[in-house]
Subunit: 407 residues, 2 copies
DNA sequence: GAGTATATGTTCCGCGTTTAGACAAATTCC
DNA sequence: GGAATTTGTCTAAACGCGGAACATATACTC
């Protein structure tokens, strides 16, 4: 039951019905491909004539194509299968992180083409833009046989305004109100989309899941690395909030008297479960920015820690388990406030998932109000799936499939 | 950018455009009344003919009525003003709380008729249903001149499934999976709607605000009494979650090592800012359920405490200020996760708002990530506005104005 | 192999709704 | 009293869903 905003609404025009049904057809083809016109009309509960017209419109725009004929189940004419046309179209995804920036080329549906490349992130926005433009052009000429590039998606840590194409505030990069989109788009001559990394990850999961409780319900993506990034989907839509800052569960406290966090406050969830926090716990002292590290600590990662824990290092296991417990306690806040159908978790610590799942679950149950909540689905997203890059790519591909704005 | 759920969507039919535009007209009349057909057509950017037809449909359903002629600004025919027809229709709101149950009669727009009455809540569901039916009938016969009753709205604390009409779990009442709606509807012969009290309060605020950033954005209602109830609105829609438990910020922790909460966990926000917590702080010992109270404590309320604080009682002021600080710290979690355009706060502690606002604000700023967040609008809802009862009433009135489900 | 049954995809017409414009009614200004 | 202007209604055209007929394609039957 949504309220109509009496100062900002969309009247239904003569073409609105068609626009709605066109998008439904497009989504059904995407979800069920290969699929015939007749099947579409049955799924939509409209006459075959209507489905046929909508399909021919999509064919005209080359958004879909007719493939081979399907096998007839019983007798009768064989159906012509329809597919989303992701041939000869590609998308570039960019993941800007504090240390390195990653580039991936995919087709329109997000299937990876070639390898992921990366380079050191320059905090100077002009240098970074030039370097990005150069490398994107390089990739596109190298893979020129895969067709034209539909767009570039960029994810960045921090506060992003996708409508303005600006990074409003990115503490780890030292950026404030930086226009990343327009210079890059101008240099490339290709549309560029930009979004916060947590929100983009949530978006990508939403658009690739087959689960219908996720598709039209709530879900949360939690990305645990140097910091904790989160993206929240409510009613099938990424939650933005008034200032594009919604979904920052990383800075919801576990204990307001807890350890200092990079954000300046104390006891944030991030301060308990970030990679830095986990490693600090192992080494027995604070590793946060600016403090000197002892020999061997600098290159030691959470993956190394997990390997040691699996190998039987009791101290390593204790550090990992401790993070697991805090992870579960923080997830409880997400469950209590958002009640998502599913939580996605990405980040290095998830390599230990088989070790830590029981601890995470029990901590989650400890603080959730209902048994349902304690049993909330948790999906691990491995690093090899490149969730952030997939999120960046989704920024380009998803809008074509989105529901039209109405009422 | 909303995703279309490929397993649960609504195709646009022949009448869909009209349905959409009909609801827009209804909402525009509600928001701008008195308003003429010509003004409607200008606001909607459609021809006067379309507005005229939609209006005549609404007139036929008696949802609106034609009032007096307006004054012509320049020359030309005078416009006929249109109004939402809330004459000869009334709504009953019921607020079930652990101790007492409240009844209020309003017109369709939520304007109070008569006085709020109350009686002691029976935890036996059959007894309560019978007593409710008896008292509602009494009120309706007493006010029979205000016309037919359109429906009864009921709010209850705890986990409610509005679709099933059931209270799934209400700890303070000892209810588990109780059907409150159907027996009451059967006894009265009137439709009954039921909802969690926090969600209903949020709904009522959404539907009565004039602010358009609230109307189509995020807002949160926080109700502080014996417990902490919250309702969250995202994109102009109450957030339900997978199991109707979304929005429970009362049990997000401030400190996982903090005081024990009624929910069984420790350090929940509720355990810091509920009335019980505030009073316990004043008396210097735990007042929670089951513990013996000393003489005079039982009838001493937060309003009494605020009165003493205002009168200069240092101990009282300290208790109130302490609650204020925790209130602000908890609100920061709401701001960081939801980024609402506005937060509404109700409950006895708000009688001290002029005293505590600076403390709440500074605590909020302490833990919010951006200056915008720290400056989030906070609106106090005084008890005299009966937010819970207004929420109950909104359950009946709001659906008629909701946006149609499409795509 | 011809005929029949069945499924797919296209085409045509009816009807509801928006779009555009004309017209009557009402009011003010000159 | 007449011109100008605004409101509200009405009519025809354009567009898209609803329903049904028709051509096409395939399998089964005799």
């Amino acid at each position: 039951m949504r309220k109509i905003n009496p100062h900002d609404f969309k009247v239904a025009r003569r073409g609105t019905s068609r626009e709605i049904n066109r998008q439904i057809v497009l989504n059904l083809i995407r979800a069920h491909q290969p699929i015939s016109r007749a099947d579409l009309s049955r799924l939509m509960n409209v006459r075959r004539g209507v489905a046929s017209l909508l399909v021919s419109e999509l064919l005209g725009e080359s958004l879909i194509f007719e493939g081979a004929l399907g096998e007839a189940v019983g007798r009768g004419r064989r159906p012509t299968f329809l597919y989303i046309d992701s041939r000869q179209r590609c998308v570039v995804g960019i993941d800007i992180r504090a240390s390195r920036t990653y580039i991936m080329l995919t087709d329109l549906m997000g299937k990876q083409l070639g390898v992921v490349s990366s380079f050191q992130t320059s905090k100077d926005i002009d240098v970074l833009t030039k370097e990005l433009a150069r490398r994107i052009k390089l990739v596109l000429t190298e893979f020129s046989e895969v067709g034209a590039c539909e767009g570039v998606g960029v994810v960045a840590p921090g506060m992003v305004d996708p409508a303005l194409g600006r990074v409003l505030h990115a503490p780890t990069l030292g950026w404030r109100d930086v226009n990343l989109r327009d210079p890059l788009a101008a240099a490339l001559g290709i549309p560029v989309h930009i979004e916060n990394s947590g929100k983009a990850c949530a978006l990508a999961q939403l658009w690739t899941t087959r689960s219908d409780v996720v598709a039209s319900g709530n879900s949360v993506f939690v990305s645990i690395s140097d910091g904790v990034g989160t993206g929240v989907v409510v009613n099938g839509e990424v939650m933005r909030g008034r200032h594009n800052t919604a979904g920052e569960f990383g800075h919801v406290p576990l204990s307001i008297d807890g350890p200092r966090c990079s954000c300046g406050a104390t006891g944030c969830w991030e301060a308990y479960v970030s990679n830095l926090a986990t490693l600090s716990r192992y080494f027995g002292h604070d590793l946060s920015e600016g403090r000197p590290r002892e020999a061997g600590e600098a290159s030691f990662t959470v993956e190394d820690l997990v390997a040691r824990a699996r190998a039987g290092d009791a101290k390593a296991l204790a550090a990992v388990n401790s993070t697991a417990r805090y992870l579960g306690l923080g997830l409880a806040s997400i469950v209590n406030s958002i009640d998502p159908a599913r939580i996605y978790i990405g980040g290095e610590i998830t390599t230990a998932w088989s070790l830590i799942e029981p601890i995470v679950r029990s901590a989650l149950r400890e603080r959730t109000l209902t048994d349902f909540g304690g049993a909330t689905e948790i999906h691990i997203v491995p690093a090899e799936e490149h969730p952030r890059l997939r999120g960046a790519v989704a920024l380009v591909a998803a809008p074509a499939f989105a529901a039209p704005m109405v009422a």
